[in-house]
């Protein structure tokens, strides 16, 4: 997946957990959990959804690298380029 596709995957996972969110209003560089009032259970559901869509395993210790939209997309892109993702 390219950067835009990965961004779409993350946003879909976000809006799936928090349907009231307007994707256009997400600030890509601030903490999603604070910005969107996402708790650990929501966050886990987001990570699970992203994993399902991309096949990328995200270890728990890497969760802090996914806290903003830009960071999450960058992390997933790097993981795909490392070949961690499932072949689509």
């Amino acid at each position: 997946m390219n950067q835009q596709e990965l961004r779409d995957v993350v946003i879909r996972a976000l809006t799936d957990v928090a349907p009231d969110i307007d994707p256009a209003t997400i600030d890509p560089v601030t903490d999603l959990t604070e910005q969107l009032d996402i708790d650990s259970m929501d966050f886990l559901n987001i990570v699970v959804a992203v994993h399902k869509q991309t096949g990328i395993e995200i270890p728990e210790r890497d969760y802090p690298k996914l806290l903003t939209l830009d960071d999450a997309v960058a992390y997933l892109l790097a993981a795909e380029q490392r070949g961690a993702g499932a072949d689509a």
Binding site: D20, S40, M41, E57
Partner: protein, 423 residues
Amino acid sequence: MPSLGADMEYGTLLEWRVGPGDNVKRGDIVAVIDTSKAEIEVEIFQDGVIDQLLVTEGTRVPVGTALATVRAGAGDGAPPPPQASEPIAVTPALQAETQPPAPAETPVPPPPAVPRPPQVHRLRVSPVARRAAEQLGVDLASVAGSGSDGAITKADVERAAEAVAPSVPPATPARAVPESASAPAPAPTPMPPGAAPAEPADRAAAMRLAIGSLMARSKREIPHYYLQTQIDMSRALAWLQEENLRRSVADRLLPSALLLSAVVEAVAAMPAMNGFWIDDAFRPAEGVHLGVAISLRGGGLIAPALHDADHKSLDELMAGLRDLVKRARTGRLRSSEMSDPSITVTNLGEQGVDLVHGVIYPPQVALVGFGGIREQPWAADGMIGARPVVIATLAADHRASDGHAGSRFLTEIDHRLQEPEEL
């Protein structure tokens, strides 16, 4: 219209999922209703054939209104008994009346005592349980203990006595939300006069009204007492981290699951916290139906139940919790999840403050609260170090228990969290 929580007075029928002539099995979803709090899928309580739909989609009716009639018995062309048309989805208390042959009509698990392997070693019996056994004429050798290390508790003895004397229905009415049927008349009505039958224009306001009404009743009727204790979470979190390293994303555990599991196990040792206060008496619940307070996006709160939590593994509790939180916040809960938690847990989560003093959900008798897990100075073995600590609180009904029992309950939760691999 089923009562889905003690705070519900009206519901709007949104959608029928069945029509006249349809065969239904117990547990099938037959309709979707809107309480002031959420959209809920209504499950049917019996097998049969839908006869008539009495309420049309979009109609708002009081709790207790019959939504449809159903002919009892299996369908498949079997001639229906002409007189067996029964209203469904009325208040749980009424359902109990209309189904005398099956006192436990909801999917009640067998009492925890039953599925346990028989005690082959010496019996561990509390003194109170022994006295109760003498009074009730129960043979202790025939009772399986549900207490810590299989100890026989007074409740085990009483359950055994009830099993021998089936004329006493096993607390079915207690599982319902009985106040809807028997509320004392003088209780002030929370709805402004005249506004009640109309659909509330503002959902958030309706929810505040419903929460406010229930919590006011709790504070008016329940003499709360409060206890708190600090729990060292270092073992639990270290075990969790280790465990999660081995697990794929979808199977990972959160600290909440450990906290819930510890509560469920502590309840087994202290059944006085698990049940209902009804008509001036404590009715112990059958099984542990763990209410989980879930904050909703945009405000408000809902506390559906994880059913039969005492028969679930840690993984099953975690999966159940994840599913329940997601559906509470985005989708739909089911009627059975709304009607009968036997004890509730509120967990502020890692972004929350230090502690919470909860308000008990009537007619339950206890609410366990967990604050955020924080690194704190902790003295042990004459040394001070930093450890992750959670403050557990208990709000309990003084009519049903005393501080001593509550204290033992919180201590039991602490002990369970010191042996996370056993959870």
